[in-house]
Symmetry: C2
Subunit: 145 residues, 2 copies
DNA sequence: CGAATAAATCATATCATCATGATGTTATCC
DNA sequence: GGATAACATCATGATGATATGATTTATTCG
């Protein structure tokens, strides 16, 4: 669905968003929290910096901060920075020019699903995920407010 | 979403399903139709044979046939044979044990989308794709018994 | 300044996927 | 039985994603 690196990027951004009120979050802290090698993480974080999602400060007390409020950062923007060829999720049969006017055999049926995926990534923000997961009918949790 | 090889497998099965009334479909014919190197295709087809989706006959006039009616072969079965680790599509944050009782931050929101994807692959069959996707035409698509 | 901290970068290493070409095996037809 | 057709398998290479470790650059603090 998304690459492992994109998955790491999502986790890293969430972790930074949770902690940045206390100041920049260092790669060291992130590596410890995400249980990942520091340098590998560092490279992924740098891609997010270049993608405009993070800003950094070096030296003592330095680290990473979001460039925009968490509520304004969609998951899609994060994934697009790491997996730039989002057209992975396009035609299931691999046709580069699959479209409504030139559809493959699955086009009609798959489009609905694909649009649901696109909506998820476009509409869900980092901010949405900071608040405890929306209680739903699933799992039958009997927690009342 | 699915690997390139899985995409090729889908195309190959569709092609075989379309042509098998005339007898087994050879790798040579498939390679020509799908514009793919014969040997590479051959290896992928063999995986489908091992997965129980295709049967083969060798020698003159030989080739590949579906083992079951097209209407009974779901796309999910095909993809599972080629990309056995379907858990790719599971937790977006890569948690192996993400579930309703132990959800990640995205679990609730993502599950709905994931289930739509799972339904698509489980419910769409090769047979569904053989008939043209019923565009604006009336009459052909109303085949509800 | 010099030491410490932290990000940025470089050089490799590893691994799975994708792909090609050559060869082996099985079945059919004459 | 020999030629041919067709799938099965092997060996190898190319590519990109993943991962590790070492080094360099920038900043802060004493």
């Amino acid at each position: 669905m998304i690459s492992r690196t994109a998955s790491i990027a999502l986790r890293a951004l969430l972790c930074i968003a949770e902690r940045q009120e206390l100041g920049p979050v260092s790669a060291k802290v992130l590596a410890r929290n995400l249980e990942l090698p520091r340098n590998y993480l560092s490279k992924t974080l740098y891609r997010l910096v270049q993608g405009g999602l993070l800003q950094t400060t070096r030296g003592r007390g330095g680290g990473y901060l979001l460039t925009a409020p968490a509520a304004e950062v969609s998951l899609g923007r994060i994934v697009d920075v790491i997996d730039p060829d989002g057209s992975q999720r396009r035609c299931l049969l691999g046709r580069p020019e699959c479209s409504d006017s030139s559809p493959c055999a699955m086009h009609g049926r798959w489009c609905e699903v694909r649009e649901a995926i696109d909506r998820f990534f476009a509409e869900t923000t980092v901010g949405d995920l900071l608040r405890p997961p929306a209680p739903d009918h699933r799992g039958r949790s009997s927690i009342h407010t």
